[in-house]
């Protein structure tokens, strides 16, 4: 039964964990990938609604601020949003660029690297990066860690939330809710290999329709993502509501999480040890007889001076 894919040890990376998780049993576990072909997106928001419905999310009813976008941004209750951009090229040709914005499920997840709570963020063998709210302590480090500004901290329970790539559905052999709902086939799902093959087909199609710069968005800075885009203008991701040109885990986060901590921890231990051995070698600092004698002399001197009539 496909349910066998549920494997509670099938985790290749855990937040705040030094020892590696069991890695051997990855045979036959394909990495999955979600492909978002922006050139086929009509911005209908079916994915957005399907996501909320599947994950039992009901965000606040917002208001119109003069654009189709709604909700305006990701929230703890909205794990994906459609971002609409009207782009007019040099010739005055209009393009309505609509991008589905959600967790990119990086191969090297900044959130996971930054998270201090063991197991609050895990990466499964199939590539999905999942938050385990049960272990989330709400420190917000994942927010600092994410190069795509995706995680959101809930005001209700102060825990971090984001797209799970429907890990529950995927583990049960189903596609994510957003993928299934997509009316135009803009969102596709499958093994990483298949999605890259498809991405190539779609890219060639776009090139055949005059989009010379069409291409795939799979940023190397985070060692690739398990959510990839097909873009008409892959040379300018910025056109699509500021999709980062070259996202990478911030060097600050790296410095902070990388080497610093083990070294520092060691230094602390070392310091304590040094003290101890110094005591062993040099011994305590004490005053000696000569000090007491000197004190007695001083007192004697003072006394006779004071008793002199």
């Amino acid at each position: 039964m496909r349910g066998d894919q549920i494997n509670l040890q099938n985790v290749i990376a855990r937040s705040a964990t030094q020892v590696p998780s069991p890695q051997e049993r990855s045979g036959g576990v394909d990495r999955v990938t979600k492909l978002i072909d922006v050139s086929r997106c009509i911005g209908c928001k079916a994915c957005q609604v399907a996501c909320a419905e599947w994950n039992d999310l009901r965000d606040e009813v917002g208001e119109c601020v003069g654009e189709y976008d709604n909700p305006l941004d990701l929230t703890p209750d909205t794990w994906q949003v459609m971002r609409f951009d009207e782009y007019e090229d040099e010739q005055g040709n209009l393009e309505w660029l609509i991008r589905k914005d959600n967790c990119m499920h990086c191969a090297e997840p900044g959130c996971l690297e930054a998270c201090p709570a063991p197991g609050a963020i895990v990466q499964y063998a199939n590539g999905i990066v999942d938050f385990n709210s049960e272990h989330c302590i709400g420190c917000g480090y994942c927010v600092s860690g994410c190069p795509f500004d995706v995680p959101r901290i809930s005001k209700k329970d102060h825990k971090a939330y984001k797209c799970t790539l429907c890990s529950d559905r995927v583990f049960h052999g189903l596609e994510p809710a957003c993928v299934k709902s997509c009316p135009t086939g803009s969102i596709m799902f499958g093994t990483r290999e298949d999605m890259f093959d498809l991405a190539e087909t779609r890219t060639n199609f776009l090139k055949s329709r005059g989009f010379d710069n069409a291409g795939v968005y799979n940023p190397e800075g985070v060692d690739g993502t398990h959510v990839i885009y097909v873009l008409q203008h892959a040379d300018r991701p910025g056109l699509y509501s500021h999709l980062p040109e070259d996202p990478r885990i911030s060097p600050l986060v790296d410095a902070w999480k990388g080497v610093t901590k083990p070294l520092a921890s060691m230094a602390i231990g070392l310091a304590a040890l040094t003290g101890f051995f110094h005591y062993v070698t040099a011994g305590p600092k004490e005053y000696g007889e000569e000090d007491e004698a000197a004190v007695r002399e001083d007192e004697a001197r003072e006394r006779e001076r004071e008793e002199r009539p």
Binding site: S39, R40, C41, I42, G43, C44, K45, A46, Q48, V49, A52, E53, R58, D59, E60, V61, G62, E63, C64, V65, G66, E67, Y68, N70, P71, T78, E86, E88, L94, E95, W96, I98, P183, T184, G185, F205, R209
Partner: protein, 808 residues
């Protein structure tokens, strides 16, 4: 749809015009994307707005709302003058060769027989020239000056590129580009499909716009072909089914029609409808009208309907006017001539034009019954909702009943999608509270009325007392019983001409061919005959296999007529019975009979040699370029301006005020007074749907409310600049009939147009949101819309009207 959703993938060119499929039918639109990817098809959008469909289109051309006839008329002329049409198809399968009566004429925007005083046409001259047998004269060479082809050519010769551009406001190069792309499909192995919806129907000239599209498709030879057709995407889930079942003022199930008051004699009534062929030996299927009619009367009145009593012809109400459509009824309601109104899952206060008039009309009712799963604005029209609906309950004496009914998830039954598929679905849970099914409610009301008439008597009680009511649970007929009833069954053994038994008494009929006019069969809707046969319920079938790879899936559900997926599919083959093109093949002649990947829309054994033409429902057997007297404003579509137009006159007939608007349209005096002028209301407005919402239901759904929470109007950047409006500002949009307030969406997607030498700004007004539900409270869009309808169907002109936009 003449074709169906999946068939769109077989098209080489998709024209989305008068519709916004990506917005209103996203899932069906999938097959457009498939055509693009798998069939290398192009998608072209011609629309006032760069809409969601345009977002994924290969080419977009802006157009002024309501000018599609000009755009397509020009195309017709372009195709003819440049010989870019499917010669053989046009000659063999259209009425191009038929000769038009010499009395017929067209002068400065008016066809022959116009009576300016009553604003009506005497259509007697709109005919072919007939020989003594009553057959139309023909000229296969298409050279005769009065043959339909030459008449059409002459009619549209006025539609030059320059003129079209100045009427539509579309730049010439864009028009030319679209025309060229369409012309490429004139060859036999390429097809183009028109996807349209209410962007074409909701105009005072709506029906004629669609006729123009049909003419184009006939010229290109795209009717009956895979990936061709004129495809109405349709609105509601079962709008197709309700139309098929004739729930319209003048219809009976299966497009049978009610008698007009003038038709007092049964024979006369049948004769009028059982149309003989106008070309020798054509099928002219309507000749069997009586079979369908009598079977219907047997289904409704059982044994009470007998030959001697003309099958109770008199028990059918007769039409005193052409139509008692909604505009007509609400006009009478407004005059105080209507006392009661029943809204079954319908929200007229929000859905009808000129809300103020609707409110006043409803207030003059004695009783109103609203049957709905949800709270509706209509049911609460008497309630004060502040600025959004400001009324005084104390001053409204209408007694309003609100009856809770089941939603789709809580009932069994079928709906007909726009592919004409009857699909059966099942209830998954009980309805909330005391809700009851619509059938139980209708039965409950009827049985009580029947009892009252039995006990108290009253005028003309017979049809009520004798209505055939064989249901096991009279108070709640089951969907199964009703489905079997509209499929039809034999009352006696039925034999064919050779005395072969066709169907046994008591058995379900297999198809409408088994129906008889002698009272031996009963059938509630001949068009649906075959949906529930002795083989059982065909509508539950779930075999989605597609052996020919054509997308016909004949084993899925059941499609009317006779499980046929592409209408007129005989036209996909040459007169000699071989397909026009292998990649477009649907049916073909195998030497003995018609076979193929679809159910042939043709007598199965009518050999090509017999020369019968493919359009078997038409008296000519041919596609009608010339509509004869079937349309109220003329046999050839002509462009007329919307009743609220942003320009001074009709550029085609600047000097003839009678030809400014549709001369055949019906306008009530008070409504005419409520038309605005472009001097006072300079902006051309159009109303439409958004994909996040469905009319006035989804505002009751949290999930959809989140996706699109508040009312907005779309304004082009240049107009916004002119009016000092910034994105997100609140604006007031006023028409002669009232005003609404909403948030401004300022966009590059609506551009100003150069029309007849002036700049026209268009304003987009989504129709959603109201003062109930989960979304932000808002005004109803139909506060603004005018109360005037299409010349034939009386569909209100929601798509073209005038407003004034102001910053608040």
């Amino acid at each position: 749809m003449t074709n169906h959703w999946v068939d769109i993938r077989n098209a080489d060119l998709i024209i989305a015009m008068g519709g916004n499929p990506a917005e209103a039918h996203p899932v069906g639109f999938r097959w457009v994307m498939e055509a693009k990817e798998k069939n290398d098809a192009r998608l072209v959008v011609v629309d006032p707005r760069f809409n969601r469909t345009a977002a994924v289109a290969d080419y977009y051309a802006e157009i002024r709302t309501g000018t599609d006839i000009a755009f397509l008329g020009g195309l017709i002329s372009y195709l003819i003058e440049n010989g870019l049409f499917h010669q053989d198809y046009v000659r063999a399968y259209t009425d191009a060769s038929l000769i038009v009566s010499p009395e017929f004429g067209f002068d400065d925007g008016l066809f022959s027989g116009y009576d300016a005083d009553n604003g009506e046409y005497d259509k007697s001259s709109w005919q072919y020239e007939y020989d003594d047998e009553g057959h139309a004269r023909r000229d296969e060479t298409l050279q005769h000056p009065r043959c339909v082809f030459q008449m059409m050519r002459q009619h549209y010769s006025r539609y030059t590129l320059e003129l079209v551009s100045s009427v539509c406001g579309t730049p010439r190069d864009k028009i030319q580009r679209v025309w060229d792309m369409i012309a490429e499909t004139a060859v036999p192995d390429r097809t183009m499909t028109f996807l349209y919806a209410l962007g074409w129907t909701q105009h005072s000239i709506g029906s004629q716009i669609i006729r123009t599209a049909a003419i184009v498709q006939l010229l290109l030879g795209n009717m009956g072909m895979r990936g061709g057709g004129v495809n109405a995407l349709r609105g509601h889930s079962n709008i197709q089914g309700l139309t098929d079942l004739g729930l319209l003022s003048n219809l009976l199930p299966g497009y049978l029609t009610l008698p007009r008051s003038g038709e007092q004699e049964y024979d006369q009534y049948i004769l009028e409808r059982a149309r003989p062929p106008l070309v020798p030996d054509e099928v002219s299927y309507w000749r069997y009208y009586e079979r369908f009619h009598v079977s219907l009367m047997k289904a409704w009145f059982g044994d009470a309907a007998q030959e001697e009593n003309d099958w109770r012809f008199d028990w059918l109400p007769k039409m005193g006017v052409d139509l008692y459509d909604i505009l007509h009824t609400f006009e009478r309601m407004h005059q105080g001539e209507v006392n009661g109104y029943i809204c079954q899952g319908f929200n007229p206060l929000a859905a009808f034009p000129h809300k103020a008039k609707t409110t006043e009309s409803l207030s003059r009712l004695k009783y109103l019954v609203v049957i709905d799963p949800l709270r509706t604005e209509t049911a609460e029209f008497w309630k004060n909702h502040g600025e959004y609906h400001d009324v005084d309950p104390a001053a409204i004496d209408t007694e309003v009943f609100r009856l809770p009914t089941t939603a789709f998830a809580e009932e069994d039954g079928t709906i007909v999608n726009s592919s004409r598929w009857l699909q059966w679905f099942w209830a998954a849970a009980p309805p909330p509270g005391e809700s009851r099914s619509d059938t139980a409610i209708m039965a409950g009301i009827f049985l009580r009325l029947q009892r009252l008439y039995r006990e108290e008597g009253g005028p003309f009680p017979e049809p009520i007392l004798n209505l055939h009511w064989p249901y096991r649970r009279p108070d709640e007929p089951s969907p199964e019983e009703l489905a079997r009833e509209y499929n039809g069954w034999a009352l006696e053994d039925v034999f064919d001409e050779e005395r072969n038994l066709v169907v046994r008494a008591g058995e379900q009929v297999e198809d409408f061919g088994m129906l008889r006019a002698d009272g031996s069969t009963a059938c509630g809707c001949w068009l649906f005959a075959g949906c529930w046969t002795e083989g059982g319920n065909q509508m539950v079938r779930r075999d989605n296999s597609d052996p020919y790879g054509t997308g016909q899936t004949l084993g899925w559900a059941w499609s009317w007529p006779a499980n046929r997926r592409i209408l007129y599919n005989r036209a996909s083959a040459r007169p000699d019975g071989t397909p026009w093109a292998a990649r477009k093949a649907v049916v073909w002649w195998n030497g003995q009979r018609w076979v193929g990947n679809d159910v042939p829309d043709f007598p199965p054994t009518s050999a090509p040699g017999d020369g019968q033409a493919p359009f078997i429902m038409n008296q000519t057997g041919r596609g009608q370029i010339f509509a004869r007297d079937r349309m109220n404003e003329g046999p050839f579509p002509e462009h007329y301006e919307p009743f609220e137009t942003p320009i001074a006159n009709n550029p085609l007939h600047p000097d003839n005020p009678l030809a400014k608007h549709n001369p055949g349209a019906r306008v009530f005096e008070q409504d005419r007074e409520n038309f605005g002028t472009f001097e006072e209301f300079p902006h051309a407005a159009t109303s439409y749907r958004l994909t996040e919402h469905f009319h006035y239901w989804t505002m009751h759904n949290r999930l959809n409310a989140i996706a699109q929470p508040e009312k907005f109007v779309e304004i082009g950047e240049s107009l916004a600049e002119e009016l000092g409006i910034a994105k997100g500002d609140r604006v007031r949009v006023s028409s002669k009939r009232g005003f609404i307030e909403a948030v401004a969406v300022v966009t590059k997607r609506i551009r100003p147009l150069q029309v007849a030498g002036q700049t026209v700004h268009q304003v987009g007004i989504p129709l959603h949101w109201g003062f109930l539900g989960e979304t932000k409270k808002s005004y109803l869009t139909n506060t603004l819309t005018p109360s005037v309808g299409d010349g034939n169907t009386q569909t209100p002109e929601f798509k073209s009207f005038l407003v004034r936009v102001e910053k608040l």
